[in-house]
């Protein structure tokens, strides 16, 4: 972990000692203990990468994520139907026809085209929100858990206040104030700004546990600065539950965007998103469940890819899991 212990050359025992101890150079142990100071220190992230790329799940999830990103960036590669034009009620809830492989929505729009064209909005909102909640959660949770005392009291109580604000109220107020700036960014802000306290609390709990571990004590004893201990030793060992929550939260964020649109403070029904489609389809649950299934499936596949990727990262970051393999 740290090379500090070995940086001073080991000197031979003084002659005349009552017990003879062979000089270390003369024992075979030296071959084991020898440290090449010129070697690059082992790096958590490099190790993790080396580990991850050997796992098939990494490549599967990576391929899925790349596919979703490509769909989001270049929807016209996958469909030539313009989803918002030519929605004819005559096609309402219609089944698949030539050129419309997944049939039509209640408004008579092409389901497949809406899903493809909705990818960009849903994926962006999902990713921005989880980045936002993870960053805020990491900052608040890590400092509160690691430093404790007054820092913990202040940061945790701020989290409690944010946590208490009803989500609908916050969204309506923020989106109404930012009415002229509505975009994927503002909507992600409205969702993420009030979702981070859960992440922060879970991380704080994990840090409380990890900071008493032997290797942290060791680093402290060696005089490593506390911020460095937090960043290099405590945080990487506490990140697993955050990854577990965050990958699932991706789905929640994508659905939350739809709820905001439904409440009239979202991007509007002319902007396509999976959440919007799911929301509109649920009214036809009794008669036309397939309009609900396809966007839900798109959401599931994306979240599945991110959960798998989260698993890989988590395992790769955990040297013990590596050793177990």
């Amino acid at each position: 972990m740290s090379n500090d212990l070995f940086e001073h050359p080991v000197t031979a025992s003084e002659p005349g000692a009552s017990h003879f101890v062979a000089p270390l150079e003369e024992t075979p142990l030296v071959a084991i203990d020898v440290v090449n100071v010129a070697d690059k220190p082992s790096n958590l992230w490099i190790d993790a990468w080396r580990d991850a790329r050997r796992r098939p799940t990494f490549w599967v999830s990576g391929a899925l994520i790349i596919l979703v990103v490509v769909v989001a960036l270049f929807p016209w590669l996958f469909t030539s139907v313009l989803p918002n034009n030519d929605c004819q009620l005559l096609n309402s809830n219609g089944g698949p026809t030539a050129g419309h492989p997944l049939g039509f929505t209640k408004q008579g729009c092409d389901v497949y085209s809406r899903i493809i064209n909705g990818t960009s909005t849903s994926l962006s909102v999902g990713i921005i929100v989880i980045v936002l909640t993870t960053v805020l959660g990491l900052v608040f949770g890590a400092f509160a858990g690691f430093y404790g005392g007054v820092v913990d009291a202040v940061l945790s109580r701020i989290g409690d206040i944010f946590f208490s604000i009803p989500y609908i109220l916050a969204a309506v107020v923020i989106m109404s104030v930012l009415v002229n700036y509505r975009s994927v960014w503002t909507i992600s802000l409205a969702i993420g700004l009030f979702a981070w306290p859960a992440t922060a609390r879970v991380l704080r709990a994990e840090i409380l546990r990890v900071k008493n571990a032997d290797f942290v004590m060791a680093s402290e004893a060696l005089g490593v600065s506390s911020l460095r201990i937090l960043l290099r030793h405590v945080l990487p060992n506490s990140i697993a539950p955050v990854i577990a929550i965050t990958t699932i939260s991706l789905a929640a964020a994508i659905v939350a965007e739809a709820t905001l649109s439904f409440l009239g403070v979202g991007l509007g029904s002319s902007i396509m998103s999976w959440g919007n489609d799911i929301n509109q389809a649920q009214r036809d649950l009794r008669t036309n469940p397939q309009t609900l299934i396809y966007p839900s499936l798109a959401l599931s596949i994306t979240v599945f890819a991110f959960i798998l990727m989260g698993e890989v990262i988590r395992d790769a970051l955990d040297p013990k899991a590596r050793a177990l393999r």
Binding site: L89, K106, Q107, G108, M175, Q280, D284, R286
Partner: protein, 539 residues
């Protein structure tokens, strides 16, 4: 108008009328003699938004209960015909001064007599601005009414114990028709001592009374039992009515399917396509006195003068009403042919000029092109609505219809709350520039209620700021006619002008949708979308 509860998510518009009667088709309330008169009927309701005071109840949740525990001068039968309830006679010579005689020996459920003073005091209470009653405006026709200051209704005079006179500030031939509305119910003397306490445990004179002082379990239900002192025509044929409060129509519908509730007057959006199959002959889907439209105000760019007329007509003809009502609403709406409702006297589907309400893509394109010749169109056609009501589906469908026909950008413009929506619509300093949804449910069964408050110059709910002297003149003429037929003719003439100006673009009339459980019979829905609870029998 009686407002609807703005519920969570899918709140189907509940509305009703009586052109088509289910169950007992005679329209009378004569019960089957074999009925079990002790069974308690359970039905759906919603927590009243105000204390149970007639002058302060303007939404359906409270209205259903208040109408059951109070009796006004008249009540409406299933077809909307007024029938004397407390009144013995209502007479006038000039449509301006009315003499009202009350039946002898009428009492409230605690034994206090219902007399002229019970009515006059209640009306005076409701009209005073300082009492801040939501139904205040219903007293506007009466002489002395002033909504800017707290002044008494000088037009009300008690003649003797059972007689009083009402002098209106202008002739109004259909005033007696209004008297069946909740706001005109009487109040006992005790009410004025502590109105707050009275509103929690009201003493009324209607067919039902509260089962006990604690019968109103807030947010859960309210239990009503027959009031034995009531002798009018709405005599209960059951052992009581329990209104279970539902936050969502979905819950009420599931309860109906499981036979946990006897009658519901609201079908959730999620079941609108299936309820007629689910319930068979127990499903109710009939026209009612609810009119839906949207309004393009005179402040909207490109909607002024001759250009505006052309564009309004083009948009109206670009909307495929029959397909939308069929696909989006599964036939629970009827495409509009005028500005009123098919359940009212005076309705006709053959007004001249009403072809503007017929889908005609080619003509719409031509009209739009003519308007473009005056001034080219720019921007997006937006239709504002409140997202906390069940509007998104039809707004999207209307926008798509306009977009497909006229080739312009069209989209719905939701606001999160009804409060914000109304604030935008009524803002005088910064008039709304987009189209916005409008709707009207009649409080009393008269075509005038659909027209004068909405399209007369400066009228209270004329949110589009429409003004046409010819229309105003016809409204005034109609109000002072002594013959009903003459008044109807005037209102129809006015509508012919409205169909040219399109101050609001009529969309459709809402049906009342509902259903009842097995074992329940004699279920009839009134003209105002509310079941006639007193006639329902069970077992």
């Amino acid at each position: 108008m009686k407002i609807r509860r703005i519920g969570v998510g899918a709140v189907a518009l509940a509305a009703a009328s009586a052109l088509v009667l289910t169950g007992c088709s005679s329209g009378s309330s004569t019960p089957a003699s074999t009925a079990n008169t002790t069974a308690i009927i359970t039905t759906n309701g919603s927590e009243p938004q105000n204390p149970l005071i007639p002058t302060n109840t303007n939404e359906t949740g409270g209205g259903k209960i208040v109408d059951s525990i109070f009796a006004g001068l008249v009540y409406y039968d299933a077809t909307g015909k007024p029938i004397n309830d407390m009144a013995d006679s209502i007479t006038t010579n000039d449509s301006q001064t009315y003499t009202i005689k009350i039946k002898a020996n009428q009492t409230f459920s605690d034994g206090e007599a219902v007399d002229a003073k019970s009515f006059v005091d209640a009306w005076q209470y409701g009209a005073l601005t300082s009492n801040a009653q939501v139904n205040q405006s219903f007293f506007a026709p009466i002489e002395g009414y002033n909504d800017a200051a707290s002044s008494p209704l000088t037009g009300l005079t008690v003649v003797d114990a059972t007689t009083f006179t009402v002098k209106l500030s202008a002739p109004q031939s259909d005033f007696p028709l209004q008297l069946g509305y909740t706001a005109f119910d009487p109040l006992p003397a005790n009410a004025f001592k502590d109105m707050t306490a009275f509103g929690q445990n009201p003493i009324g004179n209607g067919p039902y009374k509260l089962a006990s002082a604690s019968a109103w379990q807030h947010n859960v239900q309210i239990d009503l039992v027959p009031n034995t002192t009531y002798t009018g025509g709405r005599k209960p044929q059951n052992g009581g009515v329990t209104f279970k409060f539902y936050a969502q129509a979905d819950a009420a519908y599931s309860d109906l399917q499981a036979n946990n509730v006897d009658v519901i007057d609201e079908i959730p959006d999620s079941a609108i396509s299936t309820f007629t199959n689910d319930l068979g002959s127990r499903a109710i889907n009939q026209p009612s006195a609810v009119f839906q439209s949207f309004t393009i105000g005179t402040s909207a760019p490109h909607f002024q003068g001759a250009e505006g007329l052309l564009r309004r007509q083009a948009i109206s003809e670009a909307i495929d009403r029959p397909t939308i009502t069929k696909v989006i609403f599964n036939g629970t709406r009827t495409p509009a042919k005028d500005f009123t409702s098919p359940v009212l006297d005076g309705y006709t589907d053959s007004l001249s000029n009403n072809s503007v309400l017929t889908y005609n893509a080619d003509d719409a394109k031509k009209l739009w092109a003519k308007a473009d010749a005056i001034s080219p169109w720019s921007g997006t056609f937006q239709l504002a609505y409140n997202a906390d009501g069940p509007h998104q589906a039809w707004v999207d469908a209307v926008a798509n219809s306009v977009k497909n026909v006229l080739g312009i950008d069209a989209a719905g413009a939701p606001t999160p709350t009804f409060a914000q929506f109304r604030s935008l619509v009524t803002d005088k300093t910064k008039p709304i520039e987009t189209a916005f949804r409008t709707g009207w449910q009649a409080d009393y069964p008269a075509v005038s209620d659909f027209l004068t408050p909405l399209y007369a110059t400066g009228a209270s709910s004329n949110d589009g700021h429409f003004s046409d002297p010819a229309v105003d003149a016809l409204f005034t003429k109609a109000a002072s006619e002594t013959k009903t037929d003459a008044a109807i003719k005037d209102y129809q003439d006015a509508q012919v002008i409205l169909l040219k100006d399109l101050p609001a673009i009529p969309l459709w009339y809402s049906n009342v949708t509902g259903g009842y459980a097995t074992g329940v019979s004699n279920v009839q829905f009134g003209w105002n979308s509310v079941p006639l609870y007193y006639a329902i029998t069970k077992g």
